[in-house]
C-alpha cells in the first residue's frame, strides 16, 4: 500500500467545514444505540473547543429512515427537511451539522436536487409555508458531525490525555475505519477524502496516534440497510455483510473499529455477538471480539473522558481490551452504575467476558 497515492486522492477531495456557530441536529436512533456519543460531541465542541453549538428543541426526524425504507415520499422528506432548515434560520444559524450519516446524505441529495431543479425548491418552500407558515434559508455550510471533529482533530490531539498507542508495546493501535455508505458514496465530492479512500476517520486515527488498517472489504456496507434489518427474516443478509467485513479485516489483527454512522457501530458491534452465538467465531485477538467505537467516543477517550460517561457500557463487544491497551484509567465496578434498577452485571449478552 502506497500512502502517497492515497494522499494524492485525499488532496482532491477537500471540503469546506465551518469553524464555529453550529446548528446541531441529532440522529433518530443514536440516542438509543450509543447514547453517550452525541453528548460527547457537544461536550467536546462546547467545553473543550469553546464553540457555539445550538440545538433546537423542535427538531424532528429528517424522515430519511422512512424515505429509505419506502414509507416516506421524497417530497415529504424534502418538506420535513425544509422545516429543519427553517428552525436553523429562525435561530440565526447557517452552519448545519447533522449527527446522522443518512440525514447528511439526504440533506446533500436535497440541496443537490434543488440546485438542479429550482422549481422543486420553489414547490417545497410553498409546501412548508402552507403547512407551517415557516420560511428558510438553505444552510451556508453543511457538514457531518464527523467532518467537524475531523476539522478539529489537531486541536483535540493537542489537548489529548491518551494516544491510540499500545502502552505495553509502544506500537500504534491498528484501527479499522468504517464509513457510513451515505457519507460519500452518493456524492463523493461532499466527503473528506472522497468515496473510495475516505479520509475523515483516517485523519483522526493518524492524528491521535493510531495506524489505519486498509483491508479488502473496507468499502463494503455494514449490512444495516433499512428494511434489510427492520424485517427480521432479512437479518441473515444483514449479518452476512458484517461477517464479510470481519473475515476480511481479521488477518490485519485490528485492535478496534471506528465508525461515523448511526447504524454501522450498532451492527458491527452486535453482530459480533450474534456470529459468535451462531458459529462460535471471534474476530479479535485472544478469543475476544473487536471493539467498535463511534468517532465521538474515540475523541472522548483520547481527551480523557470517563469511559462510562461516554456510554461504553452500552457496547455488546466489550471495549475494555482497547482501554487496557491504551492504559486508560477506569473503574470496572462503575461500569453499570447508570443502571438504577439493577446494579448487577448482565449475564449473557456480552462477548468478551
Amino acid at each position: 500500500m502506497k500512502n502517497e497515492g492515497k494522499k494524492a486522492v485525499w488532496s482532491e477531495y477537500q471540503k469546506e467545514i465551518a469553524d464555529d456557530k453550529f446548528f446541531y441536529v441529532r440522529s433518530c436512533i443514536r440516542q438509543n444505540f450509543f447514547p453517550g456519543s452525541e453528548v460527547a460531541f457537544l461536550r467536546i465542541l462546547k467545553e473543550v473547543l469553546g464553540k457555539d453549538v445550538y440545538e433546537h428543541p423542535c427538531h424532528t426526524t429528517c424522515s430519511g429512515i422512512g424515505y429509505h425504507g419506502d414509507i416516506v415520499p421524497f417530497e415529504t422528506a424534502m418538506t420535513v427537511v425544509a422545516r429543519q432548515f427553517a428552525l436553523m434560520t429562525e435561530a440565526g444559524y447557517e452552519n448545519y451539522v447533522p449527527s446522522c450519516i443518512t440525514s447528511f446524505g439526504l440533506y446533500t441529495e436535497i440541496l443537490d436536487t434543488w440546485h438542479h431543479f429550482p422549481e422543486v425548491e420553489k414547490k417545497i418552500r410553498k409546501n412548508l409555508k402552507e403547512a407551517t407558515g415557516r420560511e428558510f434559508e438553505a444552510p451556508k455550510n453543511l457538514a457531518h458531525a464527523s467532518d467537524v471533529i475531523f476539522k478539529f482533530r489537531k486541536e483535540i490531539a493537542a489537548k489529548a490525555k491518551y494516544k491510540l498507542i499500545n502502552k505495553n508495546t509502544g506500537e500504534p493501535l491498528r484501527v479499522v475505519d468504517h464509513i457510513g455508505c451515505h457519507y460519500a458514496k452518493m456524492f463523493p465530492s461532499k466527503g473528506v477524502g472522497g468515496a473510495e479512500y475516505p479520509y475523515v476517520l483516517a485523519g483522526m486515527i493518524e492524528e491521535w496516534g493510531g495506524q489505519v488498517i486498509d483491508y479488502p472489504e473496507r468499502r463494503h456496507c455494514c449490512g444495516f440497510g433499512f428494511r434489510q434489518y427492520l424485517v427480521q427474516a432479512n437479518r441473515g443478509f444483514s449479518v452476512a455483510c458484517s461477517k464479510e467485513k470481519f473475515e476480511s479485516m481479521q488477518p490485519f489483527k485490528p485492535d478496534m473499529i471506528i465508525t461515523n454512522c448511526p447504524g454501522c457501530p450498532m451492527f458491527l458491534d452486535r453482530w459480533q455477538y450474534v456470529i459468535n452465538e451462531i458459529e462460535g467465531k471471534q474476530y479479535g485477538q485472544n478469543g475476544e471480539g473487536i471493539p467498535v467505537f463511534t468517532y465521538e467516543e474515540v475523541a472522548g477517550l483520547v481527551l480523557g473522558f470517563d469511559p462510562w460517561d461516554l456510554g461504553l457500557q452500552m457496547h455488546q463487544t466489550d471495549c475494555e481490551p482497547v482501554l487496557d491497551k491504551i492504559g486508560i484509567e477506569y473503574s470496572p465496578e462503575d461500569k453499570y452504575k447508570l443502571n438504577s434498577l439493577n446494579h448487577s452485571q448482565p449475564k449473557h449478552l456480552v462477548v468478551n467476558v
Binding site: 444495516f224 443478509f237 452476512a240
Partner: protein, 114 residues
C-alpha cells in the same frame, strides 16, 4: 395432472408483445438515463445486496426492459440504497433514482406491497 400425469408445458420465450412494459416506460419517462445501460455489471459487481441476495441492477434493467417483471418485483426489495452502484456506473445511470422509480412503478401498476 391427475388425469394424464402431465401438463402442457409453458413457453420459455420472452413474450415481448404480451409482456407488461409499463414499469420500464414509467422509469425511462422519469429517469431517461435508465436507457443507457450497457449491461457491464459494474453495479452488481460490488453491490452489497448482490453479494448475498439475487439482487442485481443489471439484471433488473434488462428484465424490466423486456417486461419480465417477476424477478425484479421481488429482488428490488433487497437494495440497501448504499450508493455504490451510482459511484461506479460508466454510463451515468442514476441508479438510485431508478430503484426509487421502480418501486413507485410497481406500486402504481402492480399493487406492489413492500
Amino acid at each position: 395432472m391427475d388425469k394424464f400425469g402431465f401438463t402442457i408445458s409453458k413457453g420459455r420465450q420472452i413474450n415481448y408483445d404480451q409482456n407488461d412494459r409499463r414499469i420500464y416506460n414509467y422509469i425511462i419517462e422519469n429517469e431517461p438515463s435508465f436507457r443507457n445501460c450497457i449491461a457491464c455489471g459494474g453495479c452488481s459487481g460490488s453491490c452489497s445486496a448482490g453479494n448475498f441476495t439475487r439482487f442485481s441492477l443489471r439484471e433488473l434493467n434488462i428484465l424490466i426492459n423486456r417486461g419480465e417483471n417477476d424477478l425484479p418485483r421481488t429482488n428490488l426489495k433487497k437494495c440497501m440504497l448504499c450508493g455504490k452502484c451510482t459511484l461506479i456506473c460508466p454510463r451515468g445511470v442514476n441508479t438510485r433514482n431508478v430503484v426509487f422509480l421502480a418501486k413507485q412503478a410497481f406500486k402504481r401498476f402492480d399493487s406492489y406491497a413492500f
